[in-house]
C-alpha cells in the first residue's frame, strides 16, 4: 500500500485554506497520509522524509500568478537534496479569483520542476474562488471534488480536476466585496477605509 505525504506550501500554512483542503483530502484518502507545513527551516527534514512515500500532494495557493516563494524555495532545496526513490507528485492549487485557469502557470511551473528532476506528475486539482469558497455552501462541492482527487491518487488513476463557485462573474464580484467588507469589519476597518487610494501615507 502506498502512503501520501501532504506538503502545505502556503506561507500562512497553519491557518491557511490549504490546511483545510489538506484536511478534507486526508478524510477521504484511503491511503495513510502524513501532513507537513513547509516552513523556512524544515526543508532538509522534508527532503529526507519524502523518499518514504509513494505519493506527495503539494497543496498551495497561487501568489502573484505563480508559485509562492515559500514553495519555490523548498523546491530549489529539494532539487539539491533529492530522495533516492521518487514519489509521484500531485497538486491541489487554489487561487482567489473565480477563474481556476489562473492556476495554470503554477501547474506548468510544477511540471517543469518534475520534468527537470524526474518526478512523475500525478493528479491535479485547480480551484478558483479558493479564498472564499470554504465559507459558502459551495463547500459541499469542494468536498466532492477533493474526494475524487483522493480516490484518483489512492488508485493511481491520475487525473486533472477543476472547481470554482458556480456563479456569474458579476455575482462573484458582489459576493467577494461582501467577503472583504466582513474581513475588514472584524478588524474594525470600514469599506471606505479599505477603499483608500493611498499607499504608505
Amino acid at each position: 500500500m502506498g502512503k501520501v505525504m501532504i506538503l502545505n506550501g502556503s506561507p500562512r500554512a497553519p491557518k491557511s485554506n490549504s490546511k483545510i483542503y489538506s484536511d478534507i483530502f486526508r478524510k477521504y484518502c484511503k491511503l495513510d497520509t502524513e501532513y507537513f507545513n513547509i516552513s523556512k527551516t524544515n526543508h532538509i527534514e522534508l527532503c529526507k522524509k519524502i523518499g518514504e512515500f509513494s505519493d506527495v500532494l503539494v497543496v498551495f495557493p497561487l501568489y502573484a500568478d505563480s508559485l509562492p516563494v515559500t514553495l519555490l524555495n523548498f523546491l530549489k532545496n529539494l532539487e539539491l537534496n533529492p530522495p533516492e526513490k521518487k514519489p509521484v507528485i500531485s497538486l491541489l492549487v487554489n487561487c482567489g479569483f473565480i477563474e481556476y485557469q489562473q492556476n495554470d502557470i503554477a501547474v506548468k511551473m510544477m511540471e517543469q520542476f518534475c520534468k527537470k528532476n524526474e518526478y512523475k506528475m500525478g493528479s491535479v486539482l485547480k480551484i478558483g474562488s479558493g479564498e472564499a469558497i470554504l465559507t459558502t455552501f459551495f463547500n459541499v462541492l469542494v468536498k466532492m471534488k477533493i474526494r475524487r482527487l483522493a480516490y484518483s491518487v489512492a488508485n493511481k488513476k491520475y487525473k486533472t480536476f477543476t472547481l470554482t463557485m458556480p456563479l456569474s462573474k458579476r455575482s462573484f464580484i458582489k459576493a467577494s466585496t461582501k467577503y472583504w467588507d466582513n474581513y475588514g469589519k472584524n478588524n474594525g476597518v470600514t469599506h471606505e477605509e479599505m477603499d483608500t487610494m493611498n499607499i504608505e501615507s
Binding site: P11, R12, V69, M109, G184, E200
Partner: protein
C-alpha cells in the same frame, strides 16, 4: 499623485548609470522577507504592509512609475526568489476589491500609474520555460497595471549590456 518616475528593479547589482528621473534598485541588497498572506494591507492598515522591512520603500515607487524594468533570473519558468519575493510584497498597492479586466476577475488598483514594462529574464532558460514566462507576464500585466510590455531573454554575460541598451531606449 506626485510626478511620474521610472523604476528599475533588479535581483543583482549592475553597473549602469540611468538618468535622474530613473531609480535603480538592487533588490538583493535590501532586507525583504516573504509575504505571510495576512491581508493586513487590505483589511487592517489598508495600503500599508504590516511587515516594516525594506519592501515598504519599494512598492510606493512601483505605484508612482509609468515605466518599469524588472530584471530577474528565472526558475521553472517563473521569477526566481529575489524578484518574486518583492512582487508578492507589492500587493498593498491593490485593494481587496475585485473588478473585471478583459472579462477576468482582478483586484482594483489604488493610486497606481498605468505602466509600460520591460522584463529582462536572464540565465539559462529553456524554450519551454520561456513560454511559461511569457504566459506569466501576460497574467502579471492584468494584475500589475501594465499597458504594454516587452520581454527580453538574455544570458548572464550579456545582462549589463542588454540593460544598458534598454535604458538608452527609455532616454530617447
Amino acid at each position: 499623485m506626485s510626478e511620474k518616475m521610472k523604476l528599475i528593479l533588479s535581483d543583482t547589482n549592475l553597473n549602469i548609470k540611468p538618468q535622474n528621473d530613473t531609480t535603480f534598485i538592487d533588490l538583493s541588497s535590501l532586507k525583504i522577507t516573504n509575504c505571510v498572506g495576512c491581508f493586513g494591507c487590505w483589511t487592517k492598515t489598508p495600503g500599508k504592509c504590516v511587515i516594516r522591512d525594506d519592501a515598504v520603500k519599494v512598492y510606493p515607487l512601483i505605484a508612482k512609475s509609468d515605466r518599469v524594468m524588472y530584471i530577474s533570473r528565472t526558475k521553472y519558468g517563473g521569477y526566481d526568489t529575489v524578484m518574486k519575493t518583492m512582487l508578492e510584497r507589492a500587493i498593498p498597492i491593490q485593494k481587496a476589491f475585485i473588478r473585471l479586466v478583459n472579462g477576468e476577475t482582478h483586484h482594483v488598483q489604488r493610486d497606481v500609474l498605468p505602466k509600460s514594462a520591460t522584463i529582462i529574464a536572464y540565465g539559462e532558460i529553456s524554450d519551454e520555460e520561456k513560454e511559461i514566462f511569457k504566459d506569466l507576464i501576460l497574467r502579471n500585466a492584468y494584475n500589475m497595471n501594465f499597458t504594454d510590455y516587452n520581454i527580453i531573454f538574455t544570458s548572464e554575460e550579456m545582462l549589463e549590456e542588454t540593460v544598458r541598451g534598454e535604458v538608452l531606449k527609455w532616454e530617447k
